[in-house]
């Protein structure tokens, strides 16, 4: 990752810059969060083209709301909340489209074909991991990504997803169980059954 997100003081400076309408502050936020958000969006939608569109919409909304941001805004939580809502809207639209196209034959996909995402894996373990995350139900995958990849606390994830922390902890436990099963020999030792 080329640019790391700053600490609280740096993030406050970004928020202040955004509130003043400074393009430089926007560029800094974009550089700091673009890769994280894009990774989350690709793994949630499993489509790079859709992830690009949703990433653009996320940053368009940031630009539009820049002047109204609260000084205490936590940009990571704000951006992931917007991205989450966009993913939910997209998934709903997809579900409606699937229902409308219910009579059409499903597109055949070779069973052992690698998705573009899986093609990034450079070892069997990485491939197994990517597939294990992809196999999770979206609600569990989202929590696993936000906690596992983004390093967020369950309470923060609860705020982003608009659920109670207990529900997030439950999803986290289920995600862990499903990941352990899917990973098999690649699962962390502490997750394997005795």
């Amino acid at each position: 990752m080329a640019v790391r997100c700053p600490g609280d003081a740096g993030e406050r400076a970004w928020v202040d810059g955004l509130r003043r309408g400074e393009a430089a502050a926007f560029d800094a936020v974009f550089a700091g969060y673009r890769r994280r958000l894009y990774g989350y969006l690709v793994r949630m939608t499993r489509r790079r083209d859709v992830a690009e569109d949703l990433l653009q919409e996320t940053f368009l909304r940031l630009a539009q709301h820049a002047g109204k941001l609260d000084r205490e805004t936590r940009l990571g939580a704000w951006l992931f909340t917007v991205a989450h809502r966009l993913v939910v809207s997209w998934a709903r639209a997809q579900a409606v489209r699937s229902q409308l196209a219910g009579d059409l034959p499903a597109r055949e996909v070779a069973h052992d074909a690698r998705s573009p995402l899986e093609a990034l894996a450079d070892s069997q373990a990485q491939l197994a991991l990517e597939r294990a995350f992809a196999a999770l139900a979206p609600a569990y995958r989202e929590v696993a990504l936000l906690v596992g990849v983004e390093g967020m606390q369950p309470a923060e994830v609860a705020q982003i997803l608009g659920h109670k922390p207990d529900a997030i902890r439950q999803r986290l436990a289920r995600a862990r169980t499903q990941l352990a099963e899917a990973l098999g020999e690649y699962a962390p030792a502490s997750w394997r059954m005795p």
Binding site: V147, G148, G151
Partner: protein, 73 residues
């Protein structure tokens, strides 16, 4: 195993996932487009459709009420 242990192990797993990034030209295009809107607020175009729908709904309601009143006379 506690929730914290789960989160820590998940974080270890997460670090193993391959990184995903946009190509540079797409990133530049998205940044350029979004940057133009900094400090401008939502586009007025966003309000046009709801406004038209509102006017249409209000007109239809007024027409329907007029018809009911006419029938009651």
């Amino acid at each position: 195993m506690t929730q914290d242990d789960d989160a820590a192990t998940l974080a270890e797993l997460g670090r193993e996932l391959p990184g995903i990034d946009l190509d540079a030209s797409s990133a530049a295009r998205i940044a350029r487009r979004a940057r133009q809107g900094v400090g401008r607020g939502p586009s007025l175009v966003r309000f046009v459709e709801p406004a038209i729908a509102g006017v249409f709904a209000a007109s239809y309601l007024a027409w329907a009420i007029a018809r009911v009143l006419e029938a009651l006379r």
